[in-house]
């Protein structure tokens, strides 16, 4: 018996003028799986993330998360429902310390964040979670450093950390290894493999080694449509997948 999907997307479209960035995407993400979305540039992967998380409104279609519709809700409401995301272009609080970046994320569930006269260092739970997350993403030695002063690879680790610190049910990672050196990519892959299993992962990734070692399920997007879906080995052997990648190269 398969469990009900954590995320169920039905016939999702999004157009920009005459361009169909998403032309009817349907996709199910099973709880506790690590699901990758691959596809050539312009396939609509990031647009899909933007529509799921409410940064963009869909043109049509339905998104159900954890049994409840989230279609067209504003980003902060979607985030509160338990969907968190990282960004392809690093999107942090550069002047704030690593700990403060993570603490802001950990405090986003609202408890304590409205305290006008309280003290930040008394927010035990968010601070603990921030420290735990720093461990999980390998930044425990950088807590006091401003995010803007980290190396590029470390900023990418923090990018994932900030998304993770909200303790989401579903974590969307938009090319976590974008622009990384091979060593940094390896470190990131190991880090992602070490993430707790109860966090369901939906990840956009170009690096096929990362996809192969991480993803239990792979969806291939092409021109805003689902080309095929299956295990990595299954998808790898599909001649159409080769075609779209070579065709776009």
């Amino acid at each position: 018996m398969t469990p009900p999907p954590l995320l169920a997307i039905t016939a999702l479209t999004r157009t920009f003028g005459a361009l169909s960035a998403l032309a009817g995407v349907s996709l199910s993400v099973t709880p506790r799986t690590r699901h990758a979305i691959i596809g050539p540039n312009g396939a609509g992967k990031t647009t899909l993330f933007n529509v799921i998380t409410g940064q963009l409104a869909p043109s049509s279609g339905r998104i159900v998360f954890d049994g409840l519709p989230v279609t067209g809700l504003p980003p902060h409401t979607v985030a509160r429902r338990g969907i968190s995301r990282s960004f392809q272009r690093t999107n942090l609080f550069p002047k704030l310390s690593v700990l403060e970046n993570l603490r802001l994320a950990a405090g986003a569930d609202g408890r304590g964040s409205w305290s006008v006269f309280g003290r930040v260092d008394r927010l035990r739970a968010p601070l603990e979670r921030a420290a735990e997350t720093a461990d999980a993403v390998g930044l425990e030695a950088r807590l006091a450093m401003p995010a803007g002063a980290l190396s590029y690879g470390e900023q990418r680790q923090l990018e994932v950390g900030v998304a993770l610190a909200t303790r989401p049910k579903l974590l969307l990672l938009d090319e976590p290894t974008a622009g990384m050196s091979p060593e940094e990519t390896q470190r990131m892959t190991r880090m992602l493999e070490g993430l707790p299993r109860e966090v369901t992962l939906l990840i956009i990734e170009h690096d096929m080694d990362v996809v192969g070692s991480l993803a239990e399920r792979v969806t291939v997007l092409h021109y805003g449509e689902v080309l095929t879906e299956g295990t990595f080995d299954h998808v790898k052997q599909d001649p159409r997948v080769y075609e779209v990648y070579l065709g776009s190269a």
């Binding site: 609080f93 403060e100 964040s113 305290s115 006269f117 003290r119």
Partner: protein, 307 residues
């Protein structure tokens, strides 16, 4: 930490006993500095911490001033001199903020400016608000055994109120809420993506800043005994903006220093020449060029003062 507390306590005592050593005019200057200082600090909460540059902060200064004037003429109690002006300014900030926070950057500046100019236009026209002459002969607060018509009592209660206001703002910027504001300033879309209902936090910041500005407006009316539509003029907002920048944004204490620098310079230079605005403008240009962090920024670089 303790050393800083001692310095601040000494400063407050020094400001409080200033009338014992100085004449009427310096004391009035000091009182103006205190009132404009707390007004500028409230603007710094918006500008420096939440990243919302407003050119309409005079709206709340004016509302506080007018409500205090009307109420104090009826009865000189705490409600008239403090609570009503604060509540009215808070309400005005809630309404103006509700519309203004939906936009940001230049549009936010224009919208807040437009709202404050609307108040100017209305007070300029309405007869029972004194039209262009404003309201004159406003008595000072007299309640709780205080009679602030007496200069010393007024001075002490002013110092105490400004100290409390500054302490409140200081606690706020260090609170979890204050840190959320900094996050919004740094990266608003990411805060939203994390789950913060950004607009609600911005609205609360706007209301808090407006409330403090309203109290400053009430104090100013009581200091000079009158209020005119000019309080609403964009120059009132502009001067507070200059004070914040001169002192150094997102420092709070800088706003008070900026107010002091602005008012002292104004009174000093205007006693020598009519063209004090020119001198002030030049000073401002030089300051922005050579000390972009304001007075506090420059001091930090030299003496190693930390926030």
């Amino acid at each position: 930490m303790i050393a800083r507390g001692v310095v601040i306590a000494a400063l407050i005592v020094g400001v409080a006993v200033f009338p014992a050593f100085a004449g009427k005019y310096p004391v009035k200057l000091l009182q103006e500095i205190l009132i404009w200082g707390i007004f500028a600090m409230s603007l710094d909460l918006l500008m420096g911490y939440a990243g919302m540059v407003s050119l309409g902060h005079s709206a709340f200064f004016g509302v506080g001033g007018y409500v205090a004037a009307l109420a104090l003429l009826k009865s000189p109690g705490v409600v008239s001199g403090l609570l009503l002006p604060a509540a009215a300014a808070a309400l005005a900030a809630l309404v103006i903020g509700f519309f203004s926070i939906r936009v940001s950057g230049v549009y936010f500046i224009m919208l807040t400016l437009a709202f404050s100019q609307m108040f100017y236009a209305v007070t300029f026209q309405v007869a029972w608000l004194g039209a262009e002459d404003g309201i004159v002969g406003v008595p000072r607060l007299a309640a709780l055994g205080l009679d602030t018509a007496q200069p010393l009592q007024f001075h002490f209660s002013l110092v105490a109120l400004v100290a409390v206001g500054a302490l409140v703002l200081w606690r706020i910027v260090r609170s979890p809420f204050g840190h959320v504001l900094r996050g919004i300033h740094e990266n608003e879309p990411r805060m939203e993506a994390l789950g913060y209902a950004v607009n609600r936090y911005k609205l609360l910041a706007f209301v808090i800043a407006g409330t403090v500005a309203g109290v400053a407006g009430s104090l100013y009316t009581q200091l000079v005994g009158s209020i005119t539509p000019d309080a609403f003029l964009w120059t009132t907002s502009g001067e507070a903006l200059l004070m914040v920048i001169i002192g150094g944004t997102s420092t709070l204490a800088g706003s008070m220093l900026g107010a002091a620098a602005f008012i002292l310079l104004q009174s000093l230079v205007s006693s020598y020449t009519e063209r004090w605005m020119l001198i002030l403008g030049l000073t401002f240009i030089l300051l922005v060029l050579f000390a972009p962090g304001g007075v506090v920024g420059a001091l930090r670089g030299r003496v190693g003062i930390r926030s």
